[in-house]
């Protein structure tokens, strides 16, 4: 019924002699929440970078949202990133000299034009209406991650990528962030691909795949 948003065929990524991702075949239908698990160095971040258009595959085909990533130029990749994906990082990566709302506006700036009212609304939506004018250093880890989420979804991406988004958070904040993601997904209907090594976090997804040493070793569907 639903269309496929991510489709890989024999996707490979080598860094010199090291093979970070062995030929991988993966299909993600639109709207799915996919968790990717594995040890560090298992190639899950590499996969995420490839999906987000931050990196290019060494071999194999990769289609995201109908776009052939191999065929895109450097500027085409940048356009793809701003129009199609939102990325949440483990280390938040907020710009230190901008306030929360300005950090969100930065994403608007690269996408089209900055719009402060809309950025404010987005922050209110993630429950940060009271901390609009605070710098990242004045925010807690959970709050910073919520700014990141607001920034990732501000341009209405089709695909939300999470690179261990809860890796630096305590249990309570993790729960809050996951809850928030679930709510937002229900409203915006984006696809989520989330890398994690926390089985509890992975369990929020519809499906979990396990990578080991660059190979897809197991795949399981979450009940419910």
């Amino acid at each position: 019924m639903s269309t496929t948003i991510i489709e890989t065929g024999g996707l490979t990524r080598n860094y010199g002699d090291i093979c970070a991702l062995k030929p991988l075949d993966l299909k993600v239908p639109e709207g799915e929440w996919l968790s990717v698990m594995g040890h560090s160095g298992s190639g899950k971040s590499t996969l995420l970078n490839l999906l987000g258009g931050l990196d290019r595959p060494s071999n194999g085909s990769l289609r995201v949202g109908g776009e052939d990533m191999q065929g895109l130029t450097e500027d085409g990749l940048a356009r793809f990133r701003r129009e199609f994906v939102g990325i949440i990082f483990q280390q938040h990566h907020l710009i230190p000299y901008l306030t929360a709302v300005e950090n969100v506006m930065m994403a608007q700036y690269f996408h089209s034009v900055p719009d402060e009212a809309e950025a404010r609304l987005a922050l209110e939506r993630v429950g940060l209406g009271h901390r609009l004018k605070n710098r990242p250093s004045e925010l807690s880890g959970g709050e910073q991650q919520r700014v990141c989420i607001a920034r990732a979804i501000i341009n209405s991406p089709k695909l939300l990528l999470g690179d261990e988004p809860t890796g630096n958070l305590d249990h309570k904040s993790t729960l809050m962030v996951m809850e928030l993601l679930k709510e937002l997904r229900a409203e915006e209907r984006f696809t989520i691909v989330m890398v994690t090594h926390n089985p509890e976090v992975a369990a929020w997804g519809d499906r979990t795949i396990y990578l080991d040493d660059g190979i897809l070793v197991r795949e399981e569907r979450t009940r419910s």
Partner: protein, 386 residues
């Protein structure tokens, strides 16, 4: 908010975030551009002034009596100088000029003082035809004098309250003369403080027929050849001294050239060191902000857009540095001209463009390397912290 305004805001915030480094860069740029500005202003305004000075002496050789300056007294006992008035003999000079084979423009001058009302006034006798040729910049309000007429320098006219058309009676040692003031002369030189009569009349009144105090010559020659001409003329006039007028100007020209050379050297050193310090500072900034750049690219910023943000930073620094450099440079130029040449420098507004240009050029040139690395930076690796 438009994109452009956001860009300016963003750059301003980024610069404000790293205050120390921004101030350092601004100081470097301001210093470099201010030196370039000061150099330019000093050389332009002093060059103009020296040229003016040279031009004021239309004549380039001057003949004065050799005994004009007699030092009286000896050793520690100095009773003063110039006591004995000495004169040139008009016929001798004319003869010497004819024999020298030079056909210079010339003017004969006789200076003396005459009595008018209760005061002695300094009067110079000249031939007005010669004056018109040799001193074309004399500006006469009124008309050139005919026979029985005179002109008066503007300063003297103001001091004595003389106007064109007035008639006055000047008394000499033997006899007196009635003249009508036909005009007021201003030349911006010592002429402004003198009263001009025609030469024969003054000679008659003073009882000094055929005597002169100064002869000014305009010889078409320059530099070394002028010196030769003067040397060739000297033996024909044993009782007089022939000297070059340009000597006066030459000293200031030489000084100017030396100051210029010094400033060029200093500016070159400063520009080079400023450029390299801009490069150094910008490189560390870019290295430090690697993650930020990677993030911008990961968010969807194209390479050119991110490059634009960082070049805008360099441009903003350049603009502010240049503005400060212009103000500072004008002040330095004032200081130099005051201290070295004892005059004030011109205020040259368009030099703001020069200082802005120098500063922008330095800021951008110094940032070329760092900007290239911004352009090339790989978002994945920089976000991982490599």
């Amino acid at each position: 908010m438009t994109k452009r305004r956001w860009l300016v805001y963003l750059v301003a915030r980024a610069l404000a975030h790293r205050k120390g480094r921004t101030v350092l860069l601004l100081a470097v740029l301001a210093m470099a551009s201010s030196l370039a500005t000061a150099l330019g202003i000093v050389s332009i305004s002093m060059g103009k002034r020296v040229a003016e000075e040279v031009r004021k002496y239309g004549a380039n050789l001057v003949i004065i009596p050799d005994s004009a300056r007699l030092d009286v007294g000896s050793g520690g006992l100095n009773f003063g100088a110039v006591t004995e008035p000495a004169y040139l003999n008009q016929q001798e000079v004319e003869g010497a000029l004819a024999r020298s084979g030079l056909k210079p423009g010339r003017s004969f001058h006789l200076r003396g003082s005459l009595h008018w009302k209760d005061a002695d006034i300094l009067v110079e006798g000249v031939n007005f035809d010669e004056i018109r040729q040799l001193f074309p910049w004399w500006q006469i309000k009124g008309g050139w004098p005919a026979a029985g007429e005179a002109v008066v320098g503007s300063d003297m006219a103001a001091r004595l309250g003389l106007k064109g058309g007035e008639t006055l009676e000047l008394a000499g040692p033997g006899q007196s003369v009635r003249v009508r003031v036909s005009g007021i002369v201003s030349s911006g030189g010592e002429e402004d403080g003198l009263f001009f009569l025609s030469l024969p009349e003054l000679q008659k009144v003073l009882g000094l027929e055929g005597k002169l105090t100064t002869v000014r010559l305009l010889v078409t020659a320059e530099g070394e050849s002028l010196k030769k001409r003067a040397a060739a003329l000297q033996p024909l006039l044993p009782k007089a001294k022939v000297s070059e007028v340009r000597q006066i100007a030459r000293t200031s020209e030489g000084l100017l050239a030396k100051v210029k050379l010094l400033m060029v050297l200093v500016t070159a050193v400063v520009l080079i060191s400023a450029g390299s310090s801009v490069t150094g500072t910008m490189s560390t900034t870019v290295l430090e902000r690697g993650k930020e750049i990677g993030l911008m690219k990961a968010m969807g910023g194209g390479r050119w857009e991110v490059l634009l943000i960082f070049s805008a930073e360099a441009i903003m620094l350049g603009l502010f540095g240049g503005g400060a450099g212009y103000l500072l440079g004008s002040a330095v130029a004032q200081f130099i001209t005051r201290a070295v040449f004892a005059t004030s420098a011109d205020f040259i507004p368009w030099f703001a463009c020069v200082s802005l240009g120098v500063s922008l050029f330095l800021a951008l040139l110094g940032s070329v390397g760092p900007l290239i690395s911004v352009f090339r930076l790989d978002p994945v690796r920089s976000l991982r912290g490599e």
